[in-house]
C-alpha cells in the first residue's frame, strides 16, 4: 500500500518536472513554476516526516483492548475501536485511589484534568505577571546592575535543578498551609514551575517591549501619566502577542512536568495528567493503546492553543531580540 503510494508520488513529480521544463515557453513563468514545484516537494517531504509519528500514534490509539505492542506498520487502522479512549476518559483510574478497595475514591479523568489545568494556568499567569514587570524595568530603565540582573536570570536557567529538589522539598515542607504543608499542594508546584519559566518570560517580554517605540510612552508621560500607568495602559496592551507566547510556555511547563510532581504530591486526589501518562510507561506491560490515546488527549489542547495563537506566536517570540 505504502509502496504504491510512494511510486505514484515519484511519478507525479517526474511528470510535473518534465511539463515545466518542456511545455512552458515563457521564461518567467517556467522559473516560477519550477521554483513552486521545488519548494512544494521540499515542504511535502517535511510534512511527511512531521506527520508520520502523529499518524502512527493515532492508529495505535484506535487499536482494540488487549493490544500489546505495535508489530507492523499500519498508518490506517484496520479494526477501529475506541476501547482505549473509553478506558482513560470514562473509567475510574484504578492506579490512583485513596482507598484501592473502593472504586469511587479513585481518580477520574475529569479530576486529573482539573488538577493539570489549575497547575498549568497558575504557573503561566503567575510567571507572566511578575515576569512582565521585571522585563519592563530591564527594557525601559537605565540603572545600576541591569546587565548583571539580566544575566542573573539566565544564569539561574543554567543551574541544573537535579540536586536542588532535596533542599526545595525541605523548604516547601516548612511552609504550613492549613493543616498541611505547601509541598503537598498544587499551589507549591505552580510556584516551583513559575520560577523555572521566569527566565524565559523575562527575556522574551523584554525583547518585545524593546520593539515598542519609546515615543508612545513619552507622549503619555507628558500628558501626566505615571510610569506605572504608562506600563499598564500602553505597554501591556501592545504586548499581547508576547504575553500570549509566555503564557503558552508557562502552560506547557505545568502541563507536562512530572518528576517534581511525583516527588512532591502525596494524595492521589491531586495527581495530574502528566503523572498519569508517565505512570503508564513505568508499568511492566505498557498498555500501548491507552498510552497512545492518553498522549493524544494530552497533546490536543496544546496543539489547539498553538493553532489559535499562531499569528501571535510568530510576532510574539522575541527572546532577547535586539533592535538593530
Amino acid at each position: 500500500m505504502l509502496r504504491t503510494a510512494l511510486l505514484i508520488i515519484v511519478a507525479i513529480i517526474a511528470v510535473l518536472t518534465v511539463y515545466g521544463l518542456v511545455f512552458i515557453k515563457n521564461q518567467k513563468k517556467k522559473r516560477a513554476f519550477l521554483t513552486q514545484l521545488g519548494v512544494q516537494i521540499f515542504l511535502l517531504f517535511i510534512t511527511a516526516i512531521v506527520m508520520f509519528p502523529v499518524f502512527w500514534i493515532v492508529t495505535m490509539s484506535l487499536e482494540p483492548a488487549g493490544f500489546s505492542k505495535p508489530l507492523d506498520l499500519k498508518l490506517i487502522p484496520t479494526n477501529v475501536s475506541f476501547d482505549a479512549y473509553r478506558k482513560i476518559l470514562v473509567e475510574p483510574w484504578i492506579r490512583f485511589c485513596s482507598n484501592p478497595a473502593k472504586p469511587e475514591t479513585c481518580m477520574t479523568f475529569g479530576r486529573l484534568l482539573l488538577n493539570s489545568l489549575l497547575v498549568s494556568l497558575g504557573t503561566s499567569i503567575f510567571a507572566v505577571i511578575i515576569g512582565s514587570s521585571a522585563a519592563y524595568a530591564f527594557s525601559r530603565f537605565k540603572f545600576i546592575g541591569r546587565q548583571t540582573g539580566m544575566l542573573g536570570f539566565i544564569i539561574l536557567l543554567m543551574l541544573p535543578a537535579v540536586a536542588t529538589v532535596g533542599p526545595l522539598f525541605v523548604l516547601f515542607n516548612s511552609v504550613p498551609i492549613g493543616d498541611e504543608t505547601l509541598r503537598k499542594t498544587l499551589l507549591g508546584l505552580a510556584i516551583a514551575y513559575a520560577s523555572s519559566v521566569l527566565p524565559f518570560a523575562v527575556w522574551n517580554l523584554k525583547g518585545y517591549f524593546d520593539t515598542i517605540p519609546k515615543e508612545l510612552e513619552e507622549a503619555a508621560l507628558i500628558d501626566g501619566a505615571s510610569p506605572a500607568q504608562s506600563f499598564i495602559r500602553i505597554i501591556l496592551p501592545l504586548s499581547l502577542p508576547a504575553m500570549a507566547v509566555t503564557v503558552l510556555f508557562g502552560f506547557m511547563t505545568g502541563w507536562t512536568e512530572f518528576a517534581l510532581a511525583w516527588l512532591f504530591l502525596e494524595s492521589p486526589q491531586r495527581y495530574t495528567l502528566a503523572m498519569a501518562l508517565t505512570s503508564m510507561i513505568g508499568e511492566r506491560t505498557i498498555p500501548w493503546n491507552e498510552f497512545a490515546a492518553m498522549s493524544i488527549v494530552m497533546s490536543m489542547p496544546v496543539v489547539f492553543f498553538f493553532f489559535l495563537m499562531q499569528r501571535w506566536i510568530i510576532s510574539g517570540l522575541t527572546i532577547g531580540g535586539v533592535k538593530g
Binding site: V50, P53, W56, I130, V202, G207, T278
Partner: protein, 361 residues
C-alpha cells in the same frame, strides 16, 4: 561606555542631575524587578546555595535528616569530602571539600562506564550538532514558507507547529518505540523505500543497542543518531518560528532596492536576509544551546545513556547519581560542574552578541 566619554565635558550640575536620575531609575527599576527577583531568590537561589554546600560533603541518604536550623539533627551532619591522593603531583589529602570534584574530573566514581572527558566531549558534540541542525533546518524551512506565491502556506504553517506543541516526553517515548530494531517504524519505512526505489539501505539496524560502527564516526553509537533524529524532529519548529518572525520584519523595499542594483538572489540572501536574521536568531540559539545542553527528556527516554554509557550526558548522569545511586554529594558536585561549563559557554556567546544591551544603549 561611549555615552560617558561623549558627555565628559559637561558641567558639574549636569553630571549631578544625571547621577540623580540614574539613582532614581535604579530604585524604580529594582522595585519592578522585586517580585520576580525575590521569587527566584527563594525558590532557586536558596536551594542552590544548599546544593553548593552539599557538593563539598559526603552527602548520603541518611544526611537528608540533617536540618541546619534544628540543633538536635546535628548527628546527621555530613562530613566534608577529602581526596586521598595527588593531583598533578601535589598531595591534596589535607584540603577539605574537594573530594567529589577531583573524583568526577579524574573519572574515579563508583559507577559503570564513567569517563569524564568522553562524557563532556559527547555532551558538547550533542549540543552543537543539535543546535546547528535546529537552526539550519529552521531557517531553511522558514525561507521556504516565506516564498511569496507559495500554495498552501497557511496549511504548512499550521502543520509544522505540531512537533513543538506535542509534549516532549510524549514524542520521546513514541520515537523510542519507532526505533525498535524489529518492530519499529523506522526500519520498516527504510524497508519500504528499499523495495520501492530499488535501494539497499540497511534495514536491520539495532538503533538503540548497536555499539560499534565503521568508518569516521566509529566512536558514535547508532543510538546517538536515534536521539539526534528525535530531538531535531521536535526542535526545529521553534527556530523556524523565530526565523519567520524575523523574516517578516525585513522591509520589502530592501529587496526592491537590491533588485534595482541588479543583485542576484544569492547575493540578496547573503547580504540582506542573513544579516537581518542574525539579531533574532542569536538569542534563540543561545537559549537553544542551554536547553539542549540540559535536555534531559530525550536522552533519558530514547537511549537512557546506552549502550555502555556512550550517549550519557552530564544531566542524565547527575540524575542517575542522585535518584538511583543516592550519591547526593557527588550529584550536587556534578551539577556545579555542569553550571560552570554552561556559564563559560553563555558568557562567551554574550560577549559576541551583546544580547543584554537595553533598548537605547
Amino acid at each position: 561606555m561611549t555615552t560617558q566619554s561623549a558627555y565628559s565635558s559637561d558641567s558639574p550640575e549636569v553630571k549631578k542631575s544625571r547621577r540623580r536620575r540614574l539613582l532614581r531609575d535604579t530604585r524604580r527599576a529594582w522595585l519592578y524587578i522585586a517580585p520576580a527577583g525575590i521569587l527566584m531568590l527563594i525558590i532557586t537561589f536558596v536551594p542552590q546555595v544548599f546544593q553548593w554546600w552539599m557538593s563539598l560533603t559526603d552527602f548520603e541518604i541518611t544526611n537528608l535528616r540533617y536540618n541546619p536550623l534544628i540543633s538536635s539533627s546535628a548527628e546527621f551532619r555530613p562530613e566534608y569530602s577529602y581526596y586521598e591522593g595527588t593531583v598533578f603531583g601535589y598531595d591534596v589529602s589535607h584540603i577539605p571539600g574537594i573530594g567529589n570534584f577531583v573524583r568526577i574530573l579524574k573519572s574515579e566514581l563508583p559507577i559503570q562506564d564513567y569517563y569524564f572527558p568522553r562524557l563532556l566531549f559527547f555532551n558538547i558534540f550533542w549540543t552543537v550538532s543539535n543546535v546547528v541542525l535546529h537552526a539550519g533546518i529552521g531557517i531553511l524551512i522558514a525561507l521556504a514558507l516565506n516564498y511569496k506565491n507559495l500554495l498552501g502556506q497557511k496549511v504548512y504553517r499550521a502543520l509544522f507547529i505540531i512537533p513543538w506543541a506535542i509534549p516532549g516526553m510524549v514524542s520521546a517515548t513514541v520515537w523510542t518505540n519507532m526505533f525498535h530494531d524489529r518492530f519499529g517504524a523506522v526500519n520498516q519505512v527504510i524497508d519500504i523505500f528499499n523495495q520501492a526505489l530499488f535501494l539497499n539501505i540497511p534495514d536491520t539496524t539495532r538503533w538503540l543497542a548497536q555499539v560499534d560502527n565503521e568508518g569516521l564516526l566509529a566512536w558514535l553509537p547508532m543510538s546517538y543518531f536515534a536521539a539526534l533524529m528525535t530531538n531535531v524532529w521536535l526542535g526545529w519548529p521553534f527556530m523556524a518560528v523565530v526565523a519567520t518572525g524575523a523574516l517578516q520584519s525585513i522591509p520589502g523595499e530592501m529587496y526592491e532596492a537590491a533588485d534595482i542594483d541588479g543583485a542576484t538572489s544569492w547575493q540578496k540572501f547573503w547580504r540582506i536576509t542573513l544579516p537581518l536574521l542574525r539579531p533574532a536568531m542569536v538569542p534563540a540559539i543561545m537559549l537553544g544551546t542551554i536547553w539542549t545542553f540540559n535536555q534531559f527528556n530525550i536522552i533519558y527516554f530514547v537511549t537512557n545513556g546506552g549502550p555502555k554509557g556512550r550517549t550519557e550526558i552530564l544531566v542524565t548522569q547527575a540524575y542517575k547519581l542522585i535518584f538511583t545511586q543516592r550519591l547526593y554529594g557527588i550529584g550536587a558536585a556534578f551539577s556545579i560542574v555542569v553550571f560552570f561549563i554552561l556559564l563559560f559557554f553563555t558568557l562567551t556567546q554574550n560577549r559576541i552578541t551583546r544580547a543584554t544591551e537595553s533598548y537605547d544603549a
